[in-house]
Every structure is written in C-alpha cells, then in structure tokens.
C-alpha cells in the first residue's frame, strides 16, 4: 500500500466525496486517496502531513479559498509547484478552462453528473495518471 501514489481530492460537497469514494472502492485502486474538504484543509495537509501527494484532483468551486486560488498558491510554492493538478468542474465555460490552463492546471475535467460517469472518469483519469503518465516521485520517499 505504501508504494502506491497518494492522490489528494479537494472537494467540499459531501455527496460528491461519498460518490467519489464509492467509485474509488469499485475502481482498480491504483493509488491511495486522501480527501480534503476545502482548500484550507488541503493546505494544512500539504504543509504538515509526512506523506505527500503525487497528484491532486481539485474542485473548481470551493468555499473560502477557491480552486483557482489554491492552484495559484501551489504553483507559487517552491515545495509544490511540480504537483500535477487535475481540476474538475461542472462549469464548462471556455473562459474558466482557459484561465485554469493559464494558471498552470495539468488537465481540466468536466464534473460527471451521475455515478456511472463518476466511475468511468475515476477509472480513466487514474488509469492514465498511474499507468501511462509518469508522476513526480513522492517527496517523503525521496527523503527516506
């Protein structure tokens, strides 16, 4: 389990977290998952947890510090600027997508509307990032 990459999901909606966790349980589980309920909690995890994520799945719309703001903070951080961030949103406006890429998001995914689509996206996104795309090595492993 320890060798699997850690994925951090930042999602404030409890229903969506439940569905994502359900989808994860039914998926091939190529990674370990840590849920943060908002950007503040995500920043706390990034600063303080000994185990570091290799990939972040970030909701666009969050209370307080929004998804774009968190993305900007990550890209400005010497410690975290390498972290791949996949943003997901129910808003498909081209201006939002353009802004996200300009600010340094690695990929932008439309938020699914039903459980079947969630499972499909979960499997496809994580299959790609775990199997076909190289992720940065976890910092905690590098230090050890």
């Amino acid at each position: 389990m320890a060798d699997k990459p850690l994925l951090m999901v930042v999602e404030d909606d409890a229903e969506h977290r439940f569905i994502m966790n359900w989808s994860y349980q039914k998926s091939t589980q190529l990674c370990n998952v840590l849920f943060a309920e908002d950007a503040e909690q995500a920043l706390f995890y990034l600063d303080d947890l000994p185990t570091h994520p290799s990939l972040m799945l970030l909701d666009y719309q969050l209370p307080g510090i929004g998804g774009m703001q968190l993305l900007q903070q990550i890209r400005k951080s010497d410690k975290w600027k390498h972290l791949p961030v996949v943003m997901f949103s129910q808003f498909h406006k081209k201006e939002i997508i353009e802004e996200a890429y300009t600010l340094g998001v690695n990929a932008f995914v439309g938020k699914p509307e039903n459980r079947g689509d969630f499972l499909n996206i979960w499997n496809t996104v994580f299959d790609f990032w775990n199997t076909h795309s190289q992720l940065p090595k976890r910092t905690d492993q590098t230090i050890r």
Binding site: H82, P84, I97, Y101, V109, F128, T131, H132, S133, Q134
Partner: protein, 142 residues
Amino acid sequence: MPTYSKPLVILIVEDDEDDRELLQIAFNEGDYKGELFFANDGEHAWQLLNEGNVDPSLLLLDINMPRLNGMELLEKLKSTLQFKALPVIMFTTSSNEAMVRKAYELGANSYVVKPQNFQRLSEIWEQVYSYWTQMIQLPSRE
C-alpha cells in the same frame, strides 16, 4: 464528453525521423479524428507556432533534441502568455525522476515515456489520444 468547434490539431515535436513516421502510422491506423503536424526540433516548433503556421490544441514534446531541446521549448512556451495555456505532454524515452520533476516544475501537463516498440507505441498513443481528447477539456483555439 468535450466537444470542440475546430478539428483537433496535435503538434508533435520530434527530431527522430523514424519516430515521426511511426507516430503518423499509428495515428492513421487508429482512425483518429484530427490532424497531426510535425516539427523537427524545438526551434522548428517555436518558429511554426510564432509564425502562426500551426495552431495546435495539444503538443507532444520530445526532450533530447538539437538546437532547442524539449525542456527549453517547454520553458519558453510556459513563460509566453500566448502559449501558456497550450497543454504540453512530454513524450520521451527518459524516465529519470529528476527529469520528470523538472518537467512538471516547468509546467508540463503530463509526462509519458515513449516505448521502444511499435505495438506498445500504438497502445500508448491510443491512451494519450483518448484521454486528452475525450476525457479532458482542452483550452479553446478560438
């Protein structure tokens, strides 16, 4: 599923002629939608982009190339407002950890290791193509 108002255009920056040919064959065999353009190295790609000869939705970028290498082109693209939003997939034989981390730090959107045989190349190409064109919302080219 994302929908695009313009046909998908992928710019492949690859100095190896055989690799360019194999990628074109894999693309043709897979009946993919869109158009492939090729640049022979980073300098050639930079010229094509700046002169407006190609307006890609996605860029596949080798690292080890003469004149301007992949990392140098990546840095130039991600520090130029006009091209900052263009998704760049590093596509290289190197899986060196420091290289992977450096690519992400410079703004690479993903990093895919180029396989050595054609069968595997076709499979990887299918995965990359379907993920980036069917699952991911790409920036508008308008």
